[in-house]
């Protein structure tokens, strides 16, 4: 496994950490594996070997320029009318029933509303399963990985807005801009019904502006604390008055919009679009977005370290220059990042704690386990702290070490037991899921690549964690010996070995 040697001299002088200059070292199995895990959700040994064979440039282009790849997934099916506004007639009927104290009709109306709420929660679960399946199946992993990033960045929770169709539409919006233009995404987010409801902009009035969206638009979505003033929030909120939605569509209510002059971030603005333009004009916006991209793709520098160190800060700076040069087009930045020496440096590889989504989707994609029951997986992800469409707050998921505590570790290990062996977590259904996992394929793949002559433990370690030179290897080999008596390692033992390797602390990393 080669380190992050670079073709050119590292300008920052951070030897061993690589730089933003193109990666000049090898692009072998280890590097290709790293790329697939970070720019996607991991891949099988065969996929890793395939893109390693392509070489760095083609591999990166395939992942980043995914527009030419058929995703091969099915579209979501969802109804947009479950949580529709009640019609004037329905409202009249309720008023009439209330006035005449017609308790029977009122009870019926109540039941209808409750039924709709139940239907909508059910649809939310279906959409949740749909997305999980899409992440598992897609041929464009970066597209889904970015959609997940933006979902956490522009965090909106179903728990608050209780409208599954709006959540799905927002998800599709993120996907359509995923590697596109960040500026376009900002214009879209201030028109997004789910976000408008989540941050109460639909309740904003020209004489009583709600500042929630204006604040988070700058603090969490684009600039970060310290790069705007309270006054910018106040005036920005006025610019955003009238931005609301009717039914499932964005609507600009001119009658509710404050037309008086405002200044935001030193610029005269009229409406929300001007507000976004003023944000995009700030260099800090590009830096904020690139710091986010860096943390997501390169390293969640240990939680608690608020500042990136010199090497990371240097790379983030280069990335934001590129982002501004490209007028907020994301692809050029991602392309350069995945081609950079820094990205492949020893410090970066194998150091990131997998998010629950990364763990679950990655296991199915890289080990080719059966996907099993998506409901069980979704429950398990909730236990690990990441339920899709339910981020804990507008700040999204903190990520990094915050994923890990003594309870989530068991949830993670046990989800892997379920994927690998089919054994469900206790309390749900003790019956094992019948569809078998075939670890023999992993061993065969590793052997075919010449990584492990006849050594099943080494083969599984290479495929599952990318290295076999760890101290726990002896324990695993002893286990395999006891089980097989020195002979061929049988299927049941391979399954158990895979469960053990997935329980290694190191398996939580990618």
């Amino acid at each position: 496994m080669s380190g992050g040697t670079t073709r050119r001299k590292d300008p920052g002088g951070n030897s061993g950490l690589g730089s933003f200059e193109p990666h000049g070292g090898d692009f072998g199995f280890a590097e290709a594996r790293h790329l697939l895990w970070r720019a996607g959700f991991g891949g099988s040994a065969a996929q890793v070997a395939l893109i390693a064979g392509w070489g760095l440039e083609r591999a990166v282009e395939h992942l980043v320029g995914y527009g030419g790849v058929e995703a091969g997934t099915r579209p979501a099916e969802a109804r947009g009318d479950i949580k529709r506004e009640r019609t004037a007639e329905e409202r009249r009927a309720e008023r009439a029933a209330r006035q005449s104290r017609d308790e029977e009709s009122l009870a019926r109306i109540r039941l209808t509303i409750q039924q709709r709420e139940r239907d909508d929660r059910k649809q939310m679960s279906q959409v949740q399963r749909w997305w999980l399946a899409r992440m598992i199946e897609t041929a464009r992993p970066l597209e889904e990985k970015l959609t997940l990033l933006w979902h956490g960045h522009f965090a909106t929770s179903y728990r608050t807005i209780e409208n599954s169709y709006h959540m799905l539409r927002q998800n599709e919006m993120f996907r359509s801009h995923a590697a596109g233009n960040f500026g376009q995404m900002l214009f879209a987010i201030i028109r997004d019904p789910a976000m408008l409801a989540y941050l109460n902009n639909n309740q904003s009035r020209r004489d009583r502006p709600n500042e929630n969206l204006a604040r988070e638009l700058m603090e969490l979505f684009s600039l970060g604390v310290g790069n705007y003033s309270e006054r910018d929030i106040k005036e920005g909120a006025r610019a955003l008055t009238g931005y609301t939605f009717v039914g499932n569509e964005f609507a600009f209510q001119a009658s509710n919009h404050d037309p008086n002059p405002k200044r935001v971030l030193g610029k005269a603005v009229s409406d929300g679009d001007d507000f976004v333009k003023a944000i995009l004009a700030k260099r800090e916006c590009a830096e904020f977005v690139c710091a986010k991209l860096y943390r997501y793709f390169v390293g969640d520098y240990p939680s608690g370290v608020a500042q990136a160190d010199e090497a990371a800060a240097g790379v983030i700076k280069e990335m934001s220059r590129e982002l501004l040069r490209a007028r907020y087009e994301l692809r050029p930045v991602l392309r350069r990042l995945f081609l950079s020496g820094h990205f492949y440096s020893a410090r970066v590889r194998g150091s990131q704690i997998k998010s629950p989504t990364q763990l679950v989707v990655g296991a199915v994609r890289s080990l080719n386990t059966p996907a099993r029951d998506l409901d069980v997986l979704s429950d398990a992800m909730d236990r690990m702290g990441q339920e899709l469409f339910y981020p804990p707050s507008v700040k999204g998921w903190d990520g990094g070490r915050s994923w890990i505590n003594t309870a989530t570790l068991y949830a993670r290990q046990n989800a892997m037991v379920y994927l690998i062996s089919g054994k469900r977590p206790v309390g749900r259904d003790a019956l094992a899921d019948a569809e078998p996992f075939r670890p023999e394929e992993l061993v065969k793949a590793a052997e075919a690549l010449g990584m492990s002559e006849g050594d099943a433990v080494a083969a599984l370690l290479m495929v599952m964690i990318g290295r076999a030179d760890i101290n726990e290897r002896g324990d695993l080999e002893e286990f395999a010996r006891r089980r097989s008596g020195g002979g061929r390692v049988d299927h049941a033992t391979l399954v158990e070995l895979a469960m053990l390797i997935a329980a290694l602390p190191r398996y939580q990393l990618c």
């Binding site: 003594t406 309870a407 046990n414 309390g427």
Partner: protein, 446 residues
Amino acid sequence: MSGDIPTTAYTRRQFVHGGLVLASASVTLPAFLSRSALALPRAVPGAAAIPGVDQDRVLVVVQLSGGNDGLNTVVPYFSPDYYRARGGIGIREDRVLKLDKAAGVGLHPAMAGMAELYNEGMVTVVQGVGYPNPNRSHFQSMDVWHTADTSGTGDGWLGKYFDAECCGYGKGESGRPDGSAARGTQLGLAIGAAAPLAMRGRTASSVSFESPELFRWSGGEGEGDLGHAYDMITRAPDAVLPGEEGSNVEFLTRTTLDARVSSELIRKAVATRPMASYPANSPLTRQLQMVAAMIRAGLPTRVYYTTLGGFDTHSGQGGEQGRHAQLLGQLSGAVRAFYQDLKASGHDAKTMTMCFSEFGRRVGQNASNGTDHGTAAPMFMIGPMVRKGVLNDHPSLTDLDSGDLKYTLDFRSVYAGVLGKWLQAQDPAVVLGKGYKPVEILRWRG
């Protein structure tokens, strides 16, 4: 791995093969406890102490999910307006378990156990608790209660308390002083699928499990060769390779070790037999029985979180009997047995229980013999150290806010009492914001 495991004193094999809990406890407890010790306030000179009560006091939260009908729980039998509004489901005055004649309120007849506790001086009923501009959505109102913030956003109130006690972080601040504080310190422990928002903080992590069986490796922990191999790899002191000190590998290795230790402590604790008999299986019984066992075992946990659901009684709520009565009976019986259990082992005095719901229900019943989402409701504080009685005035049953009670006490004043008086938080305002006068919930005043 760094200094926690003296590998010279224990060879790895002894470490793994020794009596698991004892060996692991003696070897790794320093790591496990050192963090907790930070957060368990030692008796501070000058700080109020209750004679005979451990400084490591415990709070048990019982959350009644769905919106408990406060008016049929603590019944205002003094009021003809109550009976007018509750023609079908009202509780007859002669059936109410009277608490305080002057206040004119009493408990639902299904709550005999709670009434006994009250007569023994172990219950405070706090009436009319709510918050301004009440939200009638289950989720959002629950979030308000969990975050102690009427926007329902931000970290949980208990999480903020843990943060403030262990790391000096408070409301509105963020970030971690260092990565290590996130390690497996079980200040808060919730029985349920996921740790409640109330316990979510920046630095301190809370543990949750539905059953202890989920708080272990499902692959076959403790079973033959496989269990042995699992032990070896999850307790491996040499898993961290040279150059990985301080890395995520080390962090994960240590947390894995912490998980093994606390899992064993907890499972061992809950496997012990209760010291009192609990009423037939109800979900809350099972939870409180586990909590009593963990308190008895001396876990370094300060707050336990339990939940009883099913209170969303839009239809068929029933009156003296029926669904709501059953739920109240479960609550009352479970809490009664819980304190008998704790008393038998001498842990009752250090344990206070707080019972709340996200909202009460409307004053008038609906056409389906049920009640719809409302606002203010009573809370219960339970334990030998609480001030017996009915606190705060009952909200008016005639001066309503579109059919709903107007709250007479902000729930954050109750939290302020719990944090300041019981848990002895240094400054509850750090968690709750300023302006909430703590409710005097303790019988003993320092």
